[in-house]
Amino acid sequence: MNLFEKIREGLTKTRDQLLTRIEWAVKGRPISEEAFDAIEEAIILSDAGLETTEYLIRELKEKWKRGQIKTSDDIERSIMDEVEKILLPVEKEVDTNTHKPFVILTIGVNGVGKTTTIAKLAHFFKKAQKKVLLGACDTFRAAAIEQLEVWAKRVNADIIKHSQGSDPAAVAFDAVKAARARDINILILDTAGRLHTKSNLMEEMKKIKRVIGKEIDGAPHETLLVVDATNGQNAIVQAKTFHDALHINGIIATKLDGTAKGGFILPIAHTLKIPIRFLGIGEKIDDLVPFQAHAFSRALFHSKD
């Protein structure tokens, strides 16, 4: 399966929901104002948010009035183009060659799949012949360290850990030191899940960032937020709050295969403009794919191919 097919399959639920509604509105009849209402509803139901949806519809109507949209195929193509335009600015692959070690700090609310995603990331970087080290900074949840250890073994990466209940910043400190000493390319730090509403846990995260920054100038080079696609609209709130408190450089959206709300990616790109690095689209270790605006918009709206 190539990359596009993978994304396509991961987005099946969202696409089905979108296309049935859109096709029902435009197939075999002249395009009218009502058709746009139906399209608007379909896009809103994919959790794309009001602002972004209204923007999309406005652009589409413009084109229609200018006579650039005549058939239902035109509509599909135009939506795809517009969505791609929104997504293109956030398609930025993370360049890990800028620093050595390149430090990635992963954060997110509870249960979004941080640890699993880190394993997938480690696997991805190892395939690119990088030396990867993992840091088990989730010292809060029971057996979180063991979980990361199992993954470290499976993907054949080293791991730095303390015992449960210890200071996560201390683990981060040791991991950074070890990464330097062992000539590591990429250090990925796992952290405990925290709801974006808990200010004390945000402070803890700021401390981790400070500690890393003291050891290596400019580190963490990537503060990576993991969001769960099943959270839909709430994922956008999470992204906003985490970004305000901790300044995020990149986002990974997980569990896209389990929801019809894949449209939530759109407002993240449209209003927050934070680069989307990867998409999690399945349970297997290589079910993490780099985000591509073109592939994503085609996978979202194209029934054929």
Binding site: K13, D47, V109, N110, G111, V112, G113, T116, F140, R141, A142, A143, A144, E146, Q147, E149, V150, W151, R154, Q164, L195, H196, T197, K198, S199, N200, E203, D228, T230, N231, G232, Q233, N234, V237, K255, D257, G258, T259, A260, K261
Partner: protein, 340 residues
């Protein structure tokens, strides 16, 4: 039997339920059957150890059915009256994994099949709940992560669409952060009206009546020491954060987020740290704390001498107040009231 998507909070909920049931004088047995996620079984074992509740494991076996079968036998033998079976997280659209769940259910014939749902899921929760209900059959729902910024509006739609009751809600990271679901309280939460009933219940659970009486006696005898003061702080903290307490008062919920409570939390923490850095003798007889002791205490607690001075000053004032009350106040007060 607990079922649900990945990351909805099944394992943590299993631990919370076990603790809840033991408080109700039952003898639960925790049964981790998630053989897929790395260290999932270990996670439940650790939670079980934390609350000292038995966890059934079969090392080297990765067949959920076998684990369930043996767990049943084990429970019979050891007199456990409630099995709490944690299952692997799965998508409601993954037929293969759903099939496994159906088989597990057939074998267990559970009294309650509970769907664990992340409250942040929003309206998609309805799809998830109805799919699980159609395919596996659900008796009740547990909503988790309600301590986030969601108000839990999905609760209404879930009940309306599936007709299944919501049985518990998860409201925090700690293992006692689970509450039976009360529709009227959820309604006032959704409308932002506070929840005084939950607050009173929580206070009853946290404050020990005997301890309170002992404290009252001490106050009467003017023996209220810094040690007692610290106990008070500890009990306060058990009630939850200041913010969460405030939000339970009707009419005060609008201040939530508007005022920064972290400063007040910080002050309480500081006070506790200072008292913790004293010797027991110092706590019992604060008058012996001289300049060099103050310096030591401030260093030990990571504060400065002014903070220690401030605390001691407040303590002395408090003692004076207590004296006034006990002399003429508390004893005389009711008399005056009735004599008039």
């Amino acid at each position: 039997m607990l079922i649900g998507l990945q990351g909805s909070g099944k394992t943590t909920t299993a631990g919370k339920l076990a603790l809840f049931l033991r408080k109700k004088a039952r003898k639960p047995l925790l049964v981790p059957s998630d053989v897929y996620r790395p260290a999932a079984i270990e996670q439940l074992v650790k939670l079980g150890n934390q609350i000292m509740i038995d966890t059934f494991t079969m090392p080297e076996i990765n067949d959920p059915l076998a684990i369930c079968r043996e767990a049943k036998a084990y429970a019979m033998k050891h007199g456990c009256d409630t099995l709490i079976v944690d299952t692997a997280g799965r998508l409601h659209i993954n037929d293969e994994m759903i099939e496994e769940l159906i088989n597990q259910k057939k074998l267990l014939t559970p009294r309650e099949t509970m769907l664990v749902l992340d409250a942040m899921t929003g309206q998609d929760a309805v799809n998830i709940a109805s799919t699980f209900n159609e395919k596996v059959g659900v008796d009740g729902i547990i909503l988790t992560k309600l301590d986030g910024d969601t108000r839990g509006g999905a609760a209404i739609s879930i009940k309306a669409v599936t007709g299944k009751p919501i049985k518990f809600i998860g409201v925090g990271e700690k293992l006692d952060a689970i509450e039976p679901f009360h529709p009227e309280r959820m309604a006032s939460r959704i409308l932002g009206m506070g929840d005084i009933v939950s607050l009173v219940e929580k206070a009853q659970e946290v404050f020990d009546e005997k301890q309170a009486r002992a404290l009252e006696k001490k106050i009467r005898k003017e023996e209220f020491t810094l040690e007692d003061f610290r106990d008070q702080i500890k009990q306060m903290k058990k009630l939850g954060s200041i913010e969460s307490i405030i939000s339970m008062f009707p009419g005060l919920s609008k201040f939530r987020g508007a005022i920064d409570f972290s400063q007040a939390e910080q002050d309480i923490k500081k006070t506790e740290a200072i008292i913790n850095s004293m010797t027991q003798k110092e706590r019992l007889f604060p008058t012996i704390i001289d300049g060099s002791r103050r310096l030591r205490i401030s260093r030990g607690s990571g504060t400065n001498v002014q903070d220690v001075n401030e605390l001691l000053k407040r303590y002395m004032e408090m003692k004076k107040m207590i004296k006034k009350f006990t002399k003429g106040g508390i004893k005389g007060f009711p008399k005056q009231l009735f004599m008039r």
